[in-house]
């Protein structure tokens, strides 16, 4: 599935990534190339939506690093994902404040309604994926959830389902 998704306009995406990497002016002897890796991966994830193995290999070759070195960094940071995400990314905060205000119940209700677990594959229709995260800095609104970066405060399990249904209608 991931390969198929990647092929949609992949050439243009790789070209966009290459243009960015080339603008950094790094050659094989440049000691900064390791330091630039995270920056390049950020851009790659922004372009592709996720970092499948093909993209990691490409980044490794462009930066004269081993595939393993790139993979190690990708695996270390929660921000980077090797799986495609849904059209709507639902983030539920499990930070301390949200947690004590019941965000775990919100999360399990969303998981139940959408039929997928947090931090795994998106829903089969590709519309939603769920992530659990730690604190978005809006503890006053706890419990907090976000959809594609839009923050919803003081959510209850029932309210969360309403929000999800709104996005479902949008398709």
């Amino acid at each position: 599935m991931c390969c198929q998704k990647l092929s949609e306009g992949a050439a243009a995406k790789f070209a966009e990534l290459d243009a960015f990497i080339d603008s950094l002016g790094i050659d094989c002897n440049d000691e900064r190339r390791r330091g630039r890796l995270i920056q390049v991966l950020h851009r790659a994830q922004k372009i592709f939506g996720y970092l499948p193995r093909e993209v990691q290999i490409h980044v490794a070759q462009k930066l004269f690093l081993s595939e393993a070195a790139v993979s190690g960094v990708v695996s270390f940071y929660n921000y980077f994902t090797t799986e495609p995400k849904g059209k709507y990314v639902v983030d539920v905060c499990l930070g301390t404040a949200c947690y004590v205000k019941g965000s775990e119940k919100v999360l399990s209700e969303i998981e139940r309604v959408l039929g997928v677990k947090a931090d795994t594959n998106p829903t089969p229709d590709g519309l939603f994926s769920i992530s659990a995260l730690r604190c978005v800095g809006a503890c006053g609104l706890a419990p907090v959830m976000m959809v594609n970066g839009k923050v919803y405060g003081k959510v209850t399990p029932a309210k969360a389902v309403e929000i999800i249904n709104e996005y479902k209608k949008l398709g």
């Binding site: 993979s71 695996s75 270390f76 090797t82």
Partner: protein
């Protein structure tokens, strides 16, 4: 560099500023246990991530006058007056807790572990007198990766010392291993945790050598060898690589590095091999073919430099990393594969044995040889030229299992006709040896006369340095520039130099393991004693000097092989049996 004076356990010691507490303690002969730390992984690279914390000591003067716990391996001494206690109650308790925590996440199956009795974690547990582990928690459960023919990784045993990762990336620049994931689930893995067989791993086995526990070991074919030895329908013959004879003795109480060739032959015969032959024989054969190729390429000036091709780890490396240079290695198969090809053709025909009923076992200092022997191009008509590869370490186990102690055996000689060799073959086992052996015969091939006196010793290419450059005379008035390198990181540097300036060298010897096969991935563990390599090297040169014939072309059995079977070096038949092609990976 300025000296600093500190106190350890009440004793004063002066060390250069920047030395670690561990180094200062060693100067006082005070032992501090270590685990992740490794002073020398190869090519001067050390491992001190301070990740295991087993070397914790109590000290003042690190962050002010307060007494704190600090890892001795990675804490530098920058000022006078630091005070260190290596065995205070607090330090000992901290270390014990660290060890128990390590053990809480370690499968304690020591009795059935390949590293039983050579495991550094097991040794520490014994030294600390750990009788029960207080902490029982979650254990990392990871599947075993035995995807390759050579190297097995069992990450449930990994203690995250990261020695393998350091040796793979910093010494060998292979880049197959990386720290993967984070927190409790972190492990040393491959890219995207793909099977090792699908990575750029060269199977050099340096990771196997440095792993303190049983997380990385060689894939063993010993059971299959036992089965073959007990199969009356098979004729089982064995070949022994040059570097094995100077390493196996230390496991039976011989002086390390001293060649025990004749005991080794006796031991193999006692194991039940029908014939005991020598890879040295085919090393001489390699020199005939490679020497012929060198003469041809050097005199025509075409397709230079020529690179040696004996080392399968190195061949894997160039196939993965330098596809644009695949036309320059010698097309010669390695001595192991030449032996197999000759055994299953010339020898099998001579003895009237079908190739499939002849089992060829190799005793090798190497893990990559297991991979090499399994390459499809070395199995004509589906019959492998070399059936099973057994490393020096695995052979020691076979001897132990069979109750054979080399120290109690008499001296025995190799069998004929694939057992006789010259001194040139012995030195294949050490960095520089293949090139020196080639030079001895190339001189004869070009000039039609032998090197005289001390000229036979090409000392400029000897020694354990990672990269050696020299100019050697191959004919009166004709010299060639040569390079010798060992360790794949050094190979990378030399190959990048070749890319920039193809005319700088005419011949280059490359070995994957730092120091050559004496430090191969299948040799008895050094456990940090790098002086063993010096001793093994000396042993090989002693063996060389002890022989009357020291040039490959003087080997009478090689001469007979060409006369009876192959024709001339470089003949069509020789090409068919003894040469190969390389593939981009």
């Amino acid at each position: 560099m300025s000296e600093v004076t500190i106190t350890i356990n009440g004793k004063q010691v002066s060390v250069p500023a920047g030395s670690t507490i561990l180094e200062a303690a060693q100067k006082l002969n005070i032992n501090i246990p270590t685990l992740c730390y490794c002073k020398e992984l190869g090519c001067g690279v050390s491992n001190k991530p301070a990740s295991c914390r087993i070397c914790l000591v109590e000290a003042t003067g690190i962050r002010g006058p307060r007494k704190i716990l600090a890892p001795a391996c990675a804490t530098p001494i920058s000022r006078d007056g630091m005070e260190v206690w290596t065995n205070s109650t607090r330090a000992l308790n901290a270390r014990r807790t660290v060890l128990e925590l390590l053990l809480s996440d370690h499968p304690r199956h020591c009795l059935t572990c390949a590293k039983n009795q050579s495991c550094e974690l097991q040794k520490l547990a014994a030294e600390f007198g750990i009788e029960e582990v207080e902490f029982e928690g979650e254990k990392n459960k990871m599947p075993v990766d035995n995807s390759s023919e050579a190297i097995m990784r069992d990450l449930s045993k990994c203690i995250m010392c990261r020695r393998c990762e350091t040796v793979c990336n910093k010494v060998q620049t292979v880049g197959a291993l990386t720290g993967y994931g984070r927190g409790f689930k972190a492990k040393v893995g491959t890219a995207s945790m793909i099977p090792l067989a699908d990575t750029s791993c060269t199977f050099c086995g340096q990771c196997v050598n440095v792993c303190p526990v049983g997380a990385i070991t060689g894939i063993s074919y010993v059971k299959k060898v036992w089965a073959a030895l007990n199969d009356p329908t098979k004729t089982v013959i064995v070949q022994t690589a040059p570097a094995v004879r100077v390493a196996v003795g230390q496991e039976f109480g011989f002086e390390p590095g001293v060649p025990v060739t004749k005991k080794l032959v006796a031991g193999l015969r006692a194991l039940g091999f029908d014939k005991v032959f020598d890879t040295n024989f085919s090393a001489d054969l390699t020199i005939m073919e490679e020497g012929h190729e060198i003469v041809e390429r050097v005199t025509s000036g075409k397709n230079l430099p020529i690179l040696t091709s004996c080392c399968p780890g190195w061949i894997n490396f160039i196939e993965h990393n330098f596809p644009d240079l695949l036309h320059i290695p010698s097309s010669c198969k390695s001595p192991q594969q030449m032996f197999g090809a000759i055994a299953k053709s010339y020898y099998a025909e001579k003895m009237g044995i079908k190739p499939e009923d002849l089992i060829v076992v190799s005793i090798m200092p190497c893990q990559a040889k297991k991979y090499e022997a399994a390459r499809p191009e070395f199995a004509p008509n589906g019959v492998r030229d070399v059936d099973y590869v057994v490393t020096t370490r695995e052979l020691v186990r076979m001897f132990h299992e069979a109750g054979i102690n080399l120290a109690n055996l008499g001296d025995e000689e190799y069998d004929s006709p694939l057992g006789q060799s010259t001194g040139a073959a012995d030195i294949f086992g050490v960095t520089g040896g293949v090139l020196e052996a080639a030079c001895r015969s190339v001189y004869y091939m070009i000039n039609g006369k032998e090197l005289e006196g001390d000229a036979i010793n090409f000392r400029a290419v000897r020694g354990l340095d990672g990269v050696k450059e020299a100019t050697v005379q191959v004919a009166p008035g004709k010299s060639i520039n040569v390079a010798v390198c060992s360790g794949l990181g050094n190979a990378r540097k030399v190959l990048e130099a070749v890319r920039k300036d193809p005319n700088r060298f005419q011949a280059i010897e490359i070995m994957a393991c730092p120091g050559g096969c004496i430090n191969g991935g299948g040799q008895p563990y050094l456990h940090g004693q790098t002086d063993l390599l010096e001793k093994r090297m000396k042993g090989l040169y002693t063996e060389d000097e002890s022989k009357v014939k020291r040039c490959s072309h003087q080997n009478p059995d090689i001469q007979a092989l060409y006369k009876e079977y192959l024709g001339e070096p470089g003949s069509e038949k020789a090409h068919h049996l003894l040469h190969t092609v390389y593939h981009q990976k």
